[in-house]
Structures are given as C-alpha cells and as structure tokens.
Amino acid sequence: MRRIPWEILLALLAGLGLGLVYSWVVSPPRIVDAEPVVLRADFKDQYRSAIAAAYNATGNLPRARARLSLLGDRDSIVALNAQAQRMLGSGEQFESADQVAALALALDDKPNSAPISTPTIEFTNNVEDLLTATSPPPPSDAPIVLTETPEIIEVEPTATVSVATPRPTRTLVPTLGAPFALTGQETLCDSNLPDGLLQVLVLNPNRRQLAGVEIVVTWDGGKEQFFTGLKPELGNGYADYIMAPDITYTIQLARGSDVALGIVAPGCQTSSGENFFGGIKLTFQQP
C-alpha cells in the first residue's frame, strides 16, 4: 500500500500560505479605479461638501441626489445634517456648513423626485477594474458581464442638455455679520410639554432653519450655551432648554441678535384647575 506523500502535501500548503500572504498582505492589487463609496470618512465629507456647493450653484437637485448616492450613505439627509453639525463644531466656514444643511433640507423637502445620473458616471463593479489599471477597454464584441450595480445610461447631448446645468437664482447664504432679529415670542401653556420648556427657532432670511447656531442663556449668577440642530427630528433650526421656575433669563444668539429679556416660565393652569409651568417659544430670524 502506497503511503500518503505528507511532505508533498505540506509543501503544497506552505506554498499556498506564502501565496496568500503575498497577495493579501505584501502586494495586494493596486487600486486605481475606486468608487466614492470606499473613500475614507473625511474625504467623503469633502465630497459631500463639493456636492452641496455644486447644488448651491446650480440648484440641480436630481444631479446632487445621484452624486450623493455614490457615497453609499444609508440616509443622505442624516449624513448631510450630521456633517453640517461637525463642520460647525470644528469651526469651519459657516457658509460651507450652511450649503450642506441646505442640501439636506432640499432633499427632505422633495424626497420623491427620481434621481438621474450625472452625464458620465458609469457603474461597474468588476474585479478586473482593480487589477488592470492600464488595460485597454474590452472590445465591443466582448460578452456583456452583468454586474451587481446598475449601469446608468449616459444621456446623449441634445438641444435640451443645457437644462442639465441650469443657472437658477443663487441660494442666499446668510452673512456672518448680519444680526438676527427676535421675530416671535409666544407663551405656551401645553401640559403635554415639559414644565418650563424654552423653545428657540433660528431662521435665515428665507425662513430656512439654521443648524449649529449657538444660543446663550444667562440669568442672575449663571450662563449656559446650547445649539440648534441637536434634535433634527424637530427641525435643523430648533433648540430647547428647560427653565427653572422663578428665574428670569436673558436669551440671545452668540453670533449677534436681539436680546430677549425677562424670559420666565409662565404659570399655567390645566382645564381641571391644576397649576403647572408653561413654556416660551422664541423665533430669531436674519433680516
């Protein structure tokens, strides 16, 4: 009976291991044809910023939507809002963050418009793309290989192509120096809301809600800051704060605004005669 050639099997396995180590660790395939979805997070942020800037310039929402889809975000609106917050938190230009937030708002306003492609983006998901950086394109008679991602058909330039990059009125961007005006102050007696709830809404001249705006609340012997946009489900420009009873507060925006003086939690009564502290809603808007 012939014995098993262990040494040959071992040599085969050792060679296999060496080959895998070389191909996975030492010299993996060089990437030259990557898609935006595999970019590092900070580069994705820059990509989103560029998309937002382009949208701000052209107003072409379908094109912006198609571009955002390349980044593979589960929810582009959430991703854009979160990025706007990060940008403001890290001290980046307000205009840039506002463009990102504005794109999120536009997507939120028109969630059902169908995306279209940018003119030249072709989706392929072929391993060969990674391996043959300089290989020529396949001949036209090569068999078509269906891939996982859909191919977006390029639109031939026609007389209507100029519509692809319309030149709409530029979206207004608030300037840093323009002070906000206190345009609304309401007393809210709603027993369903937390006692002493101070709600602040910050709007730009177009009544678009502004995220990341710092609000300063001061009282005798104390001071606190809070920001709009931390509860995006209630609006990008919304912020709230719980006022203690019998304390008089002063509210203003750190960026410069009218000052809301003498803000106190109002005393309210339910229909059954029960007393509770109501809330105040302040609205600031750039003129």
């Binding site: 040599a11 296999l16 191909s23 990557a34 595999v38 310039a57 793309d129 692809a164």
Partner: protein, 115 residues
C-alpha cells in the same frame, strides 16, 4: 530522500504559491476601504472637477476651487482640472459642462500664475 522526491516537493510548493496568488489576487482579492481620492476612477474625478466648476461659476473664488481639488493630492489644481476637462471632452459631457470646466481650468491656470 531521493532527489526525485525533492523535485516533487519543490513543484508542490510552487503550485501552492501559484494557487495562493490566484486566490488572493483574482478569486478573493483584498477588500479596500478608507481610500484616498486619488484612487478614484477617472470619471468620478472628472465629475468632482465638474462639481468644483459648477461651484466656481457662482463663487468666482479660484483659491476655494483649488482647495477643493487639492484632495487629489500631488498634482497642481490646474493640472487636475485640465485632466478632468480632457476626460469630459473625450467622454461626451454636455457642452455646457465642458464650458464650465474650461472656465475653471482657465481660472486656475491664471490663479497658479499669480501664486
């Protein structure tokens, strides 16, 4: 052990290496993530240049456009934009888009000259 046996061992080793390379490079290559923008495919780069050009048309700030294009790394912004323009012309971008990119290239070339 006979020399004949060594030959078989070496052949088995080489076969194993070949199988390992084929598996690692072709069948199941490394999944890449966290890549830098310079690895993007040419059409994505061109579209990024187009985005920059669209924004530049309104902002008219070549410095800002150059900073946006700087994510592609070592080349100058004017060269990056010119490559995007070349790709756009060769791949049937609309005339309007090509015109935007041409405007950006011209602006960046002028801007580079005064830097």
């Amino acid at each position: 052990m006979t020399s004949n046996r060594w030959v078989f061992i070496i052949l088995a080793l080489l076969a194993g290496v070949g199988l390992g390379l084929a598996y690692g490079w072709v069948i199941d290559p490394v999944d890449f993530f966290d890549l830098t923008p310079d690895t993007l495919r040419a059409d994505y780069k061109a579209d990024y240049v187009l985005m920059t050009a669209e924004a530049y048309r309104v902002e008219q700030d070549p410095g800002l456009a150059a900073r946006r294009l700087a994510i592609f790394g070592t080349q100058t912004p004017a060269v990056i934009a010119a490559e995007g323009l070349e790709h756009a012309r060769a791949n049937g971008f609309s005339d309007a888009d090509v015109a935007l990119m041409q405007e950006l290239v011209t602006a960046l070339q002028a801007w580079s000259g005064v830097q």
